[in-house]
């Protein structure tokens, strides 16, 4: 038992070392650094399109890289690919399991993926020869629900799960290439860095972890939230991470300074954050909450500069198109809305 005791002491010492090292580089705060910058003017976005068709709660949506199409997943057991300009349904894919919690669009536009309480990630080929959309692969190995998935390419996808791990899969063979273990609670969300070399995960252990995909290591761990992290995203230049939590706040963590820079909170907001997306320049943070609204934050000044109110139930997912032109929100009210 002596060795265990020594290891525990070493762990505590290392945690103190990390706290100290973070303090050493904290020569200022983000608030002080941007004190001379004006607050962004009030941002008022309008609903331009409403995508109607799902018959139950929408749990996830993801934009395609061509910015015209997006995919949504609902517990009505359907994955729908939408043409957001015409509001037409390009594909309505029936799922084997209706308990879907996530969906993703491949960067190529050739595939979509989804998963949920079936513990699997199902890959669908949108460009099959006969025009029918079929299941291409069923990635099964997680021992918990699939909370999020994101394609790296047509041959690789990363998943996060309620079994506390994230996995990098080879879609071709349907096998696990790398298992990223370390979180002490359900992994709820993941996001891939703009250069596709890293990804971040947010979990029910209240931490966010930065992972090196090829080295298969956890590089950094960020704490501070007081409850489950439900949503996570990269700042557009890949140097910072934004998290959204059940503790009603969002936080910005800088990767190079290895610490939290600011918390986005308001005494009037007392419900959990479900989803988030930064605008193209990173200046705006759009975050969906349990109170049916989306709050728009000035990311540098940490103040609310707008609200998107239009859904009749929880906003469960949000995304900004890759050209930055539009924001899409999905809700438990079964509708998706396109705003700009």
């Amino acid at each position: 038992m002596g060795e265990m005791e020594a290891l525990r002491k070493e762990a505590d010492n290392l945690k103190d070392q990390i706290t100290e090292a973070r303090k050493v580089v904290q020569d200022t705060t983000l608030q002080e650094a941007v004190a001379g910058t004006a607050l962004v003017g009030r941002v008022q976005l309008k609903t331009r399109k409403t995508l109607r068709g799902h018959l139950a709660k929408i749990y996830a949506m993801h934009w395609g890289t061509d910015t015209k199409f997006c995919v949504s997943a609902s517990q009505d057991g359907k994955l729908i690919v939408w043409d957001t300009l015409t509001t037409n349904k390009v594909n309505a894919i029936p799922l084997k399991s209706s308990w879907v919690m996530t969906c993703a669009y491949a960067p190529s536009g050739n595939m979509v993926a989804c998963g949920g309480l079936d513990n699997m990630c199902s890959i669908y080929n949108l460009k099959g020869k006969d025009g029918n959309v079929k299941v291409m692969r069923e990635l099964a190995a997680h021992t918990g629900y699939l909370s999020c998935c994101r394609f790296l390419s047509d041959s690789e996808i990363i998943t996060s799960s309620g079994d506390c791990t994230c996995v990098l899969w080879d879609i071709e063979t349907g096998t696990e290439k790398t298992i990223f273990a370390g979180h002490l609670g359900d992994c709820m969300s993941l996001a891939v860095s703009p250069d596709f070399k890293m990804f971040i995960s947010g979990a029910c252990d209240f931490t966010a972890k930065l992972w090196d995909i090829r080295e298969a290591t956890c590089r950094q761990t960020f704490s501070g939230h007081e409850s489950d992290i439900n949503a996570i995203g990269f700042f557009p230049n890949g140097n910072a991470v934004i998290t959204g939590s059940d503790d009603a706040t969002c936080k910005l963590y800088d990767l190079r300074a290895d610490q939290e820079l600011v918390t986005y909170q308001d005494s009037g907001i007392m419900c959990g954050v479900t989803s988030l997306a930064p605008s193209l320049s990173g200046r705006l943070l759009l975050a969906g909450y349990d109170d049916f609204n989306v709050n728009i934050w000035d990311m540098l000044k940490a103040e609310r500069v707008g609200v998107l109110a239009g859904h009749d139930n929880r906003v469960s997912c949000i995304g900004v198109s890759s050209d930055g032109m539009a924001c899409c929100t999905g809700s438990w009210d079964s509708f998706l809305k396109i705003w700009n």
């Binding site: 038992m1 060795e3 265990m4 290891l7 762990a11 290392l14 945690k15 990390i18 090292a21 973070r22 580089v25 904290q26 020569d27 200022t28 705060t29 983000l30 650094a33 941007v34 001379g36 910058t37 004006a38 962004v40 003017g41 009030r42 941002v43 008022q44 976005l45 309008k46 370390g182 290591t217 956890c218 590089r219 950094q220 761990t221 700042f235 557009p236 230049n237 140097n239 910072a240 800088d254 190079r256 300074a257 290895d258 820079l261 605008s279 193209l280 320049s281 990173g282 200046r283 705006l284 759009l286 990311m299 540098l300 900004v320 050209d323 930055g324 032109m325 539009a326 924001c327 700009n340």
Partner: protein, 75 residues
């Protein structure tokens, strides 16, 4: 059986310590530098951010003008 679980706990703890050592060893940039770089990125890309400028919305020309004035004044 107690010995078995003891040694697997030891293995797990060694991994935790190894991971902490790794995380402690990274180089850190000053917050002033990190903040400046974030701000610079926002500024450099502001005009290309349609949700921010609202340039593609024909119903709010005043918003765009105010935005341009804000950028020029930098106050």
């Amino acid at each position: 059986m107690a010995k078995m679980s003891g040694s697997s706990n030891l293995v797990a703890m060694k991994k935790v310590v190894q991971q902490l050592r790794f995380e402690a060893s990274i180089n850190r940039v000053k917050v002033s530098q990190a903040a400046a770089d974030l701000q610079q990125f926002c500024m450099q890309n502001a005009l290309q951010d349609p949700l921010l400028t609202g340039t593609h919305r024909t119903d709010q020309p005043q918003h765009y003008l105010a935005f341009i004035l804000m950028l020029q004044g930098k106050s």
